[in-house]
């Protein structure tokens, strides 16, 4: 092991040390005065971008006995996770303003989870991947059930745990089949050995593995937990799950599928394309009747998972995988922003029901305007971040000859407009029950501003992001 190997693991070391430090600081600050912990968390997770940025130009390598890949792909997700974590901590400060004894640990758990997410995207070994996924899952269960006195939060934690445990078990079984077939757990060793394997066994292994990844990215038919967990979990946690956890799930899915399984041997492209179409459609149709904003966002996130899966199915060529990365990055800002507005409105109005947002445009003009931007972005109206992601993935579908999938995608985009516009309609068109301006806490305002800027900038000037995503993809296969 060389010094360079250790340095390439610096982001993970850094985040672990940071989380421990946060726990220590938490010990010495009283209830309701955890701002120091939060600020430490935000600054710390942003500082991790410094060691990450030194690695952007590196040639890809594997470290720790070929278990961890240090390539553009992993680095892309490290950046995404760092940004998302910092934003979520920022938005959580106001969420806990009422005072929660365990506020400090909450921030530390988020940072611990970030470590796990980084590892998920970087694992080049099935065992490390399984450990990373388990680690992330444990953090998620705790965070989802964080509001001990709240029934719905408890339900969310438990439900997430039960579903997650089952999905993990199935996935591990799939991993064990891979090991049985090839005698290796390293992705880059497995790949060449799979050529002689019988397709039936391979189908079984891939199918079981998809259960685990599908659970993380809330793909149909492994999506059932999503609405209950998003509704019950603290809103910042739901935001984090819908963005960072989903992104890391996609990272693992892509790395395993594209590196390990040759589509000529086993036609997973068609399988993924069908799963994409089903997820999009079902998520959308179920989102239509929702009244609760968080449940609506949960179903819509299922549909977005389906859309992003287009990038996996259409991985061939210059558009699929970069498109997926671009989509995930843009989606991070937009989805976080939408959840931040949900946090704000949920706290100020005491309800997450969309009709309760009537007339918010007059009472909180800037959050309402940003929410309108986020909703339009999620629909895919330019010039916004998710539009550009959608554009890229539609290109990929057409480039790969999956025109039918592109048509399904645009039909779903039209359907989704209806429920996203429902939020805008409530805020802008429905009359306000009162005209008192809503209080807008400063930290949340900053988080919202960043999410809004990110949404617009990625939409208007995506060139740097494209460059980053393209270099990330070039290195994926080592």
């Amino acid at each position: 092991m060389t010094a360079a190997d250790l340095w390439s693991f610096a982001p993970e070391f850094w985040l672990t040390a940071l989380a421990v430090l946060m726990l220590v600081v938490d010990l010495f600050s009283g209830t309701g005065r955890k701002l120091a912990v939060a600020v430490l968390g935000i600054v710390g997770t942003l500082l991790v971008l410094i060691p990450i940025s030194t690695m952007v130009a590196w040639s890809p390598r594997v470290i720790f006995y070929n278990a961890v890949a240090v390539d553009g792909f992993a680095i892309f997700f490290k950046i995404l996770v760092a940004v998302a974590t910092a934003l979520v901590i920022l938005a959580s400060i106001d969420y806990f303003r009422a005072g929660n004894r365990f506020e400090g640990e909450f921030y530390a758990l988020l940072v611990f989870m970030a470590v796990g997410l980084n590892l998920m995207a970087a694992s080049a070994d099935l065992i490390l991947l399984a450990l990373a996924i388990e680690f992330v899952s444990l953090m998620s269960y705790v965070l989802a059930g964080y509001l001990k006195t709240n029934e719905k939060s408890n339900e969310a934690g438990l439900k997430y745990f039960l579903f997650g445990a089952a999905a993990s078990a199935v996935m591990l079984f799939g991993f064990s089949i891979f090991y049985g077939l090839t005698g290796s757990t390293n992705l880059y060793d497995i790949a060449p050995k799979l050529a002689q394997v019988s397709p039936a066994a391979l189908w079984l292994a891939v199918g079981m593995m998809l259960a685990g990844f599908g659970f993380k990215i809330s793909m149909v038919p492994f999506h059932q937990w999503t609405p209950d967990v998003y509704e019950g979990a603290p809103t910042p946690v739901a935001a984090y799950l819908s963005v960072a956890s989903k992104a890391a799930g996609f990272a693992a899915l892509i790395r395993v599928l594209i590196v390990v399984v040759n589509p000529q041997q086993l036609n997973w492209v068609l399988l993924v394309a069908i799963l994409a179409a089903v997820s999009m459609t079902l998520g959308n149709l179920l989102a239509l009747p929702q009244r609760n904003l968080k449940r609506m966002l949960a179903y819509s996130s299922i549909s977005h998972a389906g859309f992003i899966l287009i990038g996996v199915a259409a991985y061939h060529g210059n558009f699929g995988t970069p498109g997926l990365l671009i989509y995930l990055f843009g989606y991070t800002f937009t989805q976080l922003g939408a959840f931040f507005v949900a946090t704000l409105l949920g706290q100020q109005l005491g309800s997450d029901d969309i009709p309760a947002f009537a007339g918010v445009a007059a009472r909180a003009p800037i959050p309402a305007l940003l929410m309108a931007v986020f909703m339009l972005s999620l629909t895919g109206i330019p010039p916004t971040a998710v539009f550009f992601g959608k554009y890229y993935l539609l290109s990929a579908a057409i480039d790969n000859g999956l025109l039918w999938l592109a048509v399904v995608a645009i039909v779903n985009t039209v359907i989704s407009l209806y429920y996203y516009a429902g939020v805008i309609r409530a805020m802008y068109i429905m009359p306000a029950p009162s005209t008192a301006p809503l209080e807008e806490p400063p930290a949340l305002q900053v988080a919202l501003g960043v999410a809004g800027l990110g949404t617009i900038i990625v939409g208007v000037y995506p060139q740097p992001l494209i460059d980053l995503a393209r270099s990330a993809v070039l290195l994926l296969k080592l």
């Binding site: 109206i381 539009f387 025109l403 407009l417």
Partner: protein
Amino acid sequence: MLSLIVFLPLAGGILILFLNKASEPLMKRVALVASSASLLVSLYALTSFRIGSGAMQLQEVYRWIPSIGVNYHLGTDGLSLPLVILTGILSVVSLIYSWRIDLRLKEYLFLFLLLQTGMVGVFLSLDFFLFYIFWEITLVPMYFLIGIWGGPRREYAAIKFFLYTLVGSLAMLLAILIMYFNATPHTFSMLELIRQQPLSGQPVLAALAFWGFFLSFAIKVPMWPFHTWLPDAHVEAPTAASVILAGVLLKLGTYGFVRVSLPMLPETFKQYAFFVAILALLGIVYGALVAMAQTDLKKLVAYSSVNHMGYVMLGVAAAAGAVGDPALAGAAATALNGAVFEMLAHGVITGALFLIVGVLYDYRAHTRGVDEFGGLWSALPQYGAVTIMAMLASLGLPGLMGFVAEFLIFLGSFGVFPYLTAVAVTGVVFTAGMFLWTIQRIFLGPLNPRWAALPDMDLRERFALVPLAALMVMFGIYPKPLIDMINAAMTGIVTALR
């Protein structure tokens, strides 16, 4: 210079967002200045525009997203420049008309200016990516304008408008991507795609792309049977938004047919030209008949738009039908000239008609029932004069703008689709009937005493309507400068088709 035309309104709109909510007069002035500045720059662009040339002029090209070949590319020719000027005129006129808006003024002005930027952007973009972005940008403000300031069923009308047009836009996006991936090198440049004709050897893909564009443009025009969103949107929209909707947004559809479908997929368009012409004919007859049956004045004008846009589409379809036949090139150019002239004429005339409806409904009678009036001319002489002039222009009275357009369309189409055109000409009778009957019911006969005390037009309304009336007469009597400009561009397109 073109960038200024596009972004001056948006700059004004953003400035307004930062103004104090209490300073309403200032906000209105900023909006008017920004909007008219854009109009003035577009008029100034005429001075450096070579009218006889069919080429793209005043082009601005900057690299924008080089990795996928997207450029920021603006340019104009005899097709787009008049439409840009029309957009500027109608926007300024609508803002003047909106002077008395007091509900959520800041948002109103911002959305209006954003809409102007979007519309002008569509006309000036020569890069498909940019074109698509501006195309979509026009949807959002119109949704809000109808949804917030509209009539009683505004929410339904607004979301119906948004959903309908989004279906079309996304179909267009797919068509654009099909073009993009079949061009070598991949490009979004509209001029390059016209030159390359990437789909000329692939009939299936070409048909898919054609129908993708067709769906998008036909919904926007709207052609029969995609018109059902239009009456709802128009009836519920506030007056100024109706003016923009009828005056400019519908033209985006016909503009798309002339700018995109015809030059990029000429063979495919020729193949389906007869079918498109039939739809246009149905629009003409259906629009006129349904308009005649309306008792709501605004709905009547809305359906008359379906009728008039049918004429435009007849001209475009005729030009497409003439593709590849050198003997018909002259007829094709004439039909296209007529179609483009009709776009402008319809913009001016119907814009005026919606203002006229607004004058009566918004601040005076608060009803639009055609049968509830009678003898109004004696009570409101100025208003009556302007209205009757606009309606006569709309039915195609010689000497006014609408006649020139319809004459050219029929002249050109007759060479290509003689029988269809013969039937379409009878549509003029319906159009005339519907407007004359309307004039009779509202302005003639004994004065309904309920309306005896109505005041005539005030200064704001005169400022809004008189320029439009002047344009109708001016280009009705002396259309040559405008025709010259359009003709250069249309001849260019027709020549490139052979």
